[in-house]
Amino acid sequence: MIFGDIFLELSIRNVRLNFLRSLLAAIGIVIGVVAITSIGIMGANMTLSVTAELSESGNVIMITPDSSGGGGGGFPGGMGGGSSSDDEDEYIDKTQLRKIKQIATSGDNLVVPLYTTSENIDVSGQEGRATIYGIDINLVPDLVEVEEGSMPLSTAGVLVGSTLAERYDLKVGSRIQVGDEEVEDDDDIPQFTVRVTGILEEKGMSSDLNTDSAIVMDESLYTGHFGGEYEYDQVNIIAGDINDIKQLEEDLDYALNYREDEVLIQDSGSMLERISETLGTMTSFMSAIGAISLLVAAVSIFNVMMMSVTERVKEIGILRSIGTRRSEVRKMFLYESMLLGVIGAGIGAVASFIGGYILTYGMIGTTEYFFMPESLVYIPMGMFTGIVICILSGVYPAYRASCLDPIEALRAE
């Protein structure tokens, strides 16, 4: 007798007696548990993966022109080719940069003004599009490592990201045509040739600078071809002390936005928070869809339990007539539904572990974070949900069984 509890023993024996029926009911729970757990694990892995990549740049403040309202950034009217941002009237000007530097250089902070655009490229006839960054080339070593080759020495030298290099089979010394072959309007940039002097190491996803698929050139080369000198698209501040970020943001906001909102000041931490929240909401939504299968399983368990009560009316009558309390009859049926839950959730947990691993690898491409507590916690959570749903499904049948009149029950055939 298990744990000396005769009612648990009776429940186990009844589950064994109706093994196939019980198994089919438990399979519903397996599917439900696998659905919510696997999705939860995948969501957690996605969040962990993104968080890990973004948190590497957690000490960065990004200042961009505010395009939402206010007066916009800097002074209107881009020169020549203009700033290469999407909205040519939006940029951070020399005066704003000076203010930024005044505030930021009070600590051990690095100020990185940069230009950025997206432009057509041509590598040995293979055409495409790439992000182009114009940065003071002396600052690049502080931002990203050169994996192969060296920093540009000539005016036409550039660095390329590892993903871009792989995609276009770029090597040190390769040549890239940047710009438009035919210049038809003011937005078109006359084609010019740059030479790859170095390939940057993989940086991963980042909120401040995504160099993996980009071409990084010195700002003089950039403005020489794209124009817009001192009309920066973004200024990054790499804080020496992560604890200074909030104060820096407040000082910058006061200095730059005191009249009207001219710039947006964001730190990678708050962006990370928003991305995590969005991913969390997506995971919850998908888990809720998965939970529908658990509800279907609950109906199945309810049905099985009602059948069990109907089939065992006579047995209930016997139990009651020889001294079994109503509460003990209830307990017996609740044990039975709990057993179905434990079996279903147990198999579901194993299947979720395997399914979650496959799903995570398939969707995210890495299982680096799979064994972390934030990811694996979904397995006990899924099991717990499955068991609770099973027990709840058994409450009414158990109540009905306990309310049977012993004399009527004894007469049942």
Partner: protein, 225 residues
């Protein structure tokens, strides 16, 4: 037998309300059954003998009147108290044996003991009872559907005795048995009565009723003799 009634019915009436009509199953019954007495209840089908036994067995409560079991008025007891009274004071032997199919013979006998003591028996008492009613050790791990009717009734008797009840209620205990087995079972029940237990037995067979010291005849819910 003593002069103290262990079962006392005072003007007990039981009415079943049906959608079409009310059915009076017991009509103003007055009855005293003394401790250690062996009483047979006879009557035609529908005369109310099983209803009376169910009232005495605390499976049901009277619509009106008072029923005292071992000095306690069952109308004052709640469902749990009635259940406990049934478990501790009354042993029930049914015509259809009513063993629990999921349990083996030993577990069937042990079951009421487990309900009472809330723990497993370590004394071997259920096994001794099974031996006493004539079932050897080779049978005790069998399930009820693996033995004969006579053997099942022996198990039912052992189960009825496991909590050492003062009252044994027998509802047609030989109804499903052949005459030879019936005689063996009735000898066993008589022996238990001689040990001091009060026995109330419902039967429609006069030769079975002869085992009792007193026979009550019922008709239309009333005691007629």
């Amino acid at each position: 037998m003593t002069d103290k009634p262990v079962i006392k019915l005072e003007n007990v009436t039981k009415v079943y309300s049906l959608p079409t009509d009310d059915v009076i199953a017991l009509d103003n019954i007055n009855l005293d059954i003394m401790k250690g007495e062996f009483v047979a209840i006879m009557g035609t089908s529908g005369s109310g003998k099983s209803t009376l036994l169910n009232q005495i067995g605390c499976l049901d409560v009277p619509t009106s009147g008072n029923l005292y079991i071992d000095g306690r008025n069952v109308r004052d007891l709640n469902d749990n108290e009635l259940t406990d009274l049934r478990r501790d004071k009354i042993g029930y032997i049914f015509q259809n044996f009513n063993l629990i199919p999921l349990l083996d013979l030993s577990e069937n006998v042990e079951y009421p003991m487990l309900l009472k003591n809330k723990k497993r028996d370590e004394t071997g008492y259920p096994k001794k009872l099974l031996e006493m009613v004539g079932l050897d050790e080779t049978r005790i791990r069998h399930r009820p559907n693996e033995i004969s009717g006579g053997q099942r009734q022996r198990v039912a008797i052992a189960r009825a005795l496991v909590n050492d009840p003062t009252i044994l209620l027998c509802d047609e205990p030989t109804g499903n048995l052949d005459s030879k087995t019936s005689a063996q079972i009735m000898d066993m029940i008589s022996g238990l009565n001689r040990e001091g237990r009060t026995v109330v037995m419902v039967t429609h067979e006069p030769f079975i009723a002869k085992y009792a010291e007193r026979t009550i005849v019922m008709e239309d819910g009333r005691i007629v003799s």
